[in-house]
Amino acid sequence: MTELLQNLIDGLGRGSIYALLALGVAVVFGVMHLLNFAHGEMITVAGYVAFWTIGTNDWSWWLVVPLIVLSAIATSLVIERIAFSRVRGASDFTLLLTSFGVHFVVSAIFLLYVSASVKTFPRPTWVANTYSVRSLNIEVFDTVVIGVTLVTLIATTLLLQRTMFGLSLRAAAADFDTARLMGVKSDSVIRGAFALSGLLAGIAGVFWLMRAGSTTPTAGIDPMLKGVLAALIGGLGSLRGAVIGGFALGLAEVLLRSRLPDSVASLTEGVVFLLIALLFIFRPQGLITVAHAERV
């Protein structure tokens, strides 16, 4: 029982990061129908920011955290400006391919002009600290991640529910063309969506990088996969579903790795994907069904 509770806490900690990533994917999908496979590049860039500041110049994490978040927002906006704004209105498949292209270009830039090697930087000293509650040893890191994620989710909900920007974003997500006819400025709402997506990726990136303590030119692939996968599990376009999908994925990973017999424990990742494939067979729309007006 103790181990199960421990696993649940670990899974929630891991799932919190996935939820933030998935939410960022879902926000952009909502307004552009773009499944952004370049979403991880914000973390790639943030990783090198951490390397150059913490790793080579001994900056404090406290100083670097806002830089990481800002770099993720800036990267998201730059990618939108340089790549996605050029193909706005193109087919969904074109958008998808463009996002793949952005991913490869960003990776290649770091590969060519920085290094193919792993670049490391010190993790904060408290990351591995634990505290005890009865028989549970809980990581401070997990507690912080879960707490910050909850605050971020509440703030995002308020932003979407209580502000004009949020109203525009939700209107655009429901029916982009009608929203434009009603006076919503498409440029503003799309850039706003990318900025919000970058902000969420930046917050997730802070925790991802605190754990990893390293970066490479392809460091964004793993977080991108987790984010996209969680968004798919939850139901593409559903913000609530993305969050649920993130937590579900995190819990599934931790519980499977812990509960599978030793002889097949190395198949954990495979089993996760098998479960997801089964989910898609029975609910192709994901856990949450989203009604969209299709653009024609």
Binding site: E3, Q6, N7, D10, G13, R14, H33, L35, D92, F93, L96, S107, L111, S115, A116, S117, V118, T120, P122, R123, V127, A128, N129, T130, N137, E139, D142, R211, A212, G213, S214, T216, P217, T218, I221, D222, L225, V228, L229, L232, L236, V254, R257, S258, D262, A265, S266, L267, T268, E269, G270, F273, I276, A277, F280, P284, Q285, E294
Partner: protein, 406 residues
């Protein structure tokens, strides 16, 4: 609906796919053969500002099929920079028996066979290739086993096969992880925790397999085998919870994981109060810079060369930096690339020929070649030189040689 199905299928397919020694003190040269030896010290001591007359004989052509991607670019990129520099030094010192060395580098990209064909068309006498079967096997298929291939930075035993002219230049996974197990036993440690990606998986599973076999054969007990995802996992919460329930805080923790993974794992284990464990890993720790990681004190690893200030490898790398204005990464692997070239040339000298098949026959019987990375012998082997394995450890912040096994 259609869109979501297409996107879902694309994503699922994409995601499933994604889931998926000592420096010698002598001056080099071969113990056998008819063509004489290489004077490695003379080559490395050449002064590029004061060269001998340019050699004018038929060039010795060295082909390098290298991967510049993030997969093995961390060794192949610096390796493919260093080898031409050493060729420059050799030519500066008068060449090899009056013959200049020419080096051509072809990036394997997505088509190692094409890069190999380019090098063979150019007339390469022998090839230096990237580690990992994904790259090396297409090269061997293209050469049809007729051109010697030195898989410079690889420890993968399945890539060595003298019958088809494929050679490792260093010890293989079994020697490396067997040495790690022996070192742990020599330290008096009798219990081990092993991290693996799965039995039999190249490198990430074969090394743990070899460690377990050697550790148990030496009387040790493996108390826990944990799985992880190589080069990705940095959250080991599930594994740490399980280990915390069985550890006596006196085990050796072995894996073929990368530096940042081992330090992450160590941090989490120490967070659970397991602060007296001993950590040892493979050459992956050297490749990923365990020397500069935080929380690395006491971690041991098995580099290919243990470099100390002022030794031949250190001097060569310093000379490169001074000449080219940039430091090379993955320093511990660099001597393997240089030795790949030297041992190929030694084969040419031994057979006194330019024919690749005959060069291969000569390489097969090379014995006692004193290279930059240690002694290399292929005679009587299947292409894996039986080299001693250095054990380095981070002591007081310095990466120092603490033992040599074999």
């Amino acid at each position: 609906m259609k869109l979501r199905l297409v996107v879902t299928l694309l994503a699922v397919f994409g995601l499933i796919a994604a889931a998926c020694g000592d420096s010698s003190e002598s001056s080099g040269g071969s113990g056998g053969g008819s063509g004489g030896g290489l004077d490695i010290d003379a080559i490395l001591g050449a002064d590029l500002a004061d060269c001998a007359d340019a050699p004018s004989g038929d060039p010795i052509k060295v082909g390098m099929a290298m991967d510049f991607s993030d997969v093995v670019g961390f060794v192949d990129i610096p390796g493919s920079n260093l080898v031409p520099y050493v060729a420059e030094l050799a030519n500066c010192s008068g060449g090899i028996n009056g013959r200049p060395i020419e080096v051509r580098v072809a990036e394997v990209g997505d088509d190692a066979a094409l890069a190999t064909a380019e090098l063979l068309d150019w007339g390469a006498h022998f090839l230096i290739g990237p580690p990992f079967a994904d790259f090396a096997l297409p090269i061997l298929q293209t050469t049809e086993g007729k051109v010697p291939l030195f898989v410079a930075a690889s420890t993968e035993p399945t890539l060595a096969d003298a019958a088809i002219n494929s050679y490792l230049v260093t010890f293989d996974d079994h020697q490396m992880s067997g040495a790690a197990a022996q070192w742990a036993l020599d330290e008096g440690i009798t219990r081990a925790i092993v991290f693996t990606e799965g039995e039999g998986i190249p490198y990430t599973g074969v090394n743990p397999d070899a460690f377990i076999a050697a550790f148990e054969a030496g009387g040790g007990e493996v108390v826990s085998i944990q799985t992880y995802v190589w080069a990705a996992d940095t959250d080991f919460s599930a594994q740490v919870n399980e280990i915390a329930g069985i550890s006596e805080n006196n085990e050796v923790v072995f894996s073929a994981a990368l530096g940042f993974q081992v330090t992450a794992l160590r941090g989490q284990l120490e967070g659970q109060g397991l602060d007296a464990l001993t950590y040892i890993g493979t050459d992956a720790l050297d490749a990923t810079g365990i020397q500069v990681e935080a929380n690395n004190e006491g971690i041991a690893h098995t580099p290919h060369t243990s470099i100390s200030a002022g030794d031949r490898i250190d001097s060569l790398l310093a000379g490169y930096e001074a000449a080219k204005g940039e430091a090379l990464e993955s320093r511990g692997f660099m001597a393997l690339y240089v030795d790949s070239m030297f041992v190929g040339i030694q084969g040419m000298l031994d057979c006194d020929c330019n024919d690749s098949e005959k060069i291969g026959e000569a390489v097969k019987v090379i014995s006692g070649f004193q290279g930059l990375s240690g002694e290399i012998t292929y005679d009587g082997t299947n292409g894996i030189p039986p080299k001693a394995v250095p054990i380095n450890r981070i002591v007081d912040g310095e990466d120092v040689l603490v033992a040599t096994i074999g």
